[in-house]
């Protein structure tokens, strides 16, 4: 049970209502709806960071799941394991991203670097970027760091509030 009320559709504040139109918006949105002005800005930001951009969705999902597993965020790890499975990641890839196995040998150096980056960003952020530099452009690095940083924020949010998965 979450540590705060998860706002139901019937109780959704005015600014939060659009996020309920397609059904249950999920625990992160339902928790944020307690402060609708935060929801109104945070969700589009998160959606932009996690959505289609110049960096391939597959690479971003490696970061999201690996960072979440490294931070032991159960909510984010379980939900993004499902997301990654739906995206076509194989079981050995999922195990690697969850920190349960080494990276598959077929992964290219940039994907392996992403896994190491994801392990480092929470505890050694400055060094983590150095792992990306041989493989990615500056724009890509900024984006990947943003994906990682947003994931860290959501890991803390979900873990602190004990959001159900």
């Amino acid at each position: 049970m979450a540590k705060v009320g998860l706002v139901s559709r019937e109780r959704a504040p005015l600014l939060a209502r659009p996020y309920y139109e397609a059904g249950d918006p999920g625990p992160i949105a339902a928790a944020l709806a307690n402060v609708p002005e935060l929801m109104e800005t945070a969700l589009p930001f998160i959606g932009t960071v996690y959505g289609p951009t110049g960096v391939a969705a597959r690479l971003k999902e490696i970061v999201v799941l690996a960072v979440s597993a490294g931070n032991r965020c159960r909510y984010c790890t379980e939900t993004h394991t499902e997301v990654a499975r739906c995206m076509g990641f194989a079981p050995d890839e999922l195990a690697a991203m969850r920190g349960e196995a080494p990276a598959p040998e077929r992964w290219d150096p940039s994907e392996r670097a992403l896994l190491l980056f994801s392990e480092a960003i929470s505890d050694r952020p400055a060094q983590s970027v150095e792992l990306l530099q041989p493989h990615f452009s500056e724009a890509e690095i900024v984006e990947l760091v943003t994906v990682g940083a947003v994931t860290v924020m959501l890991n803390r949010f979900a873990t602190a509030l004990e959001l159900p998965w």
């Binding site: 706002v7 959704a12 600014l15």
Partner: protein, 276 residues
């Protein structure tokens, strides 16, 4: 010219900014929107904050202020705050009319001549009918208070909240308020809205976003769409008409309300439910 000037002129949003000074009350009315009662948890805007909001309201483009609760006159220091507010904008305070002791009347005397009015609740000319909903001896206290306020030179309005009022009962009530010194233009009859305690008593009419005027309402819990918004049911604050938790600066909820009103295609506020 502020961001609110044209929308208020066009009737898209109301010009009056409402403030819930507090939620507690010395009465326990059957239809109370906020389940107010003597022992509810104290949730109030700091009294020194009220004039600050009034000044900000004027700068933001609001044209009038309203104070409601709870029973506002349970808040210590309210008369002084009301005087400071009325110096900024025309101010209306809603009250159950039961607390006007000689001391309080003396404290209110400086407000005579300002753009200030007191709106007293009175639901029937029949004491038994009135007191059944509003509590024992309510009628007697109210009919005593109104002439005393009028005698101070303070404008008094009478608000009647009713589920059904027969024409003859309304006529008797109007005879009564006139006899107390309140003219017809200062008598407002409004329906019970089925929120708060009215749900439990199956009273009133349902009202949602489209039925309620866009009148920004500031409370200790945040900013709401209408003074009918920050209702309480089962001891829990309703959030369906919450706009923002942020109330300072006032421009944040005001701009959010404008966006919602625009997106909702809000009707002119003159067509909708009002509590004054």
């Amino acid at each position: 010219m502020t961001v609110l000037t044209q929308p208020i002129t066009d009737g898209l949003v109301g010009g009056r900014l409402w403030l819930y000074s507090n939620y507690h009350c010395n009465l326990t009315c059957t239809y109370c929107l906020t389940e107010s009662a003597p022992k509810v948890a104290r949730r109030e805007l700091p009294v020194e904050r009220l004039p600050e909001i009034a000044a900000e309201a004027r700068a933001t483009g609001f044209t009038a202020l309203g104070v409601t609760g709870g029973e506002p006159f349970l808040v210590s220091g309210l008369p002084g705050a009301l005087a400071a507010m009325a110096a900024e904008l025309p101010t209306l305070v809603l009250t159950n009319g039961t607390l006007f002791t000689r001391r309080l009347l003396s404290d209110l005397a400086p407000l005579a001549g300002l753009e200030f009015a007191v709106q007293v609740s009175l639901d029937s000319a029949d004491p038994a009918v009135n007191d059944e909903m509003r509590g024992p001896r309510n009628f007697a206290k109210v009919v005593q208070a109104i002439p005393r306020l009028c005698a101070l030179g303070i404008r008094v309005r009478v608000a009647t909240t009713t589920d059904q009022l027969a024409p003859e009962a309304l006529a008797r009530l109007c005879d009564l308020h006139r006899s107390l010194g309140v003219p017809d233009e200062d008598h407002v009859v409004r329906p019970i809205v089925r929120r708060g305690r009215a749900i439990d008593h199956r009273l009133g009419v349902d009202a949602g976003l489209a039925d309620l005027p866009a009148e920004l309402t500031i409370t200790a819990d945040g900013a709401f769409w209408s003074p009918f918004g920050p209702t309480v049911h089962g001891g829990r604050l309703d959030t369906d008409l919450l706009i923002t938790r942020t109330t300072r600066p006032l421009s944040i909820p005001a701009r959010a309300m404008l966006r919602i009103a625009g997106a909702a295609g809000a009707r002119p506020t003159s067509d909708q439910l009002k509590i004054y």
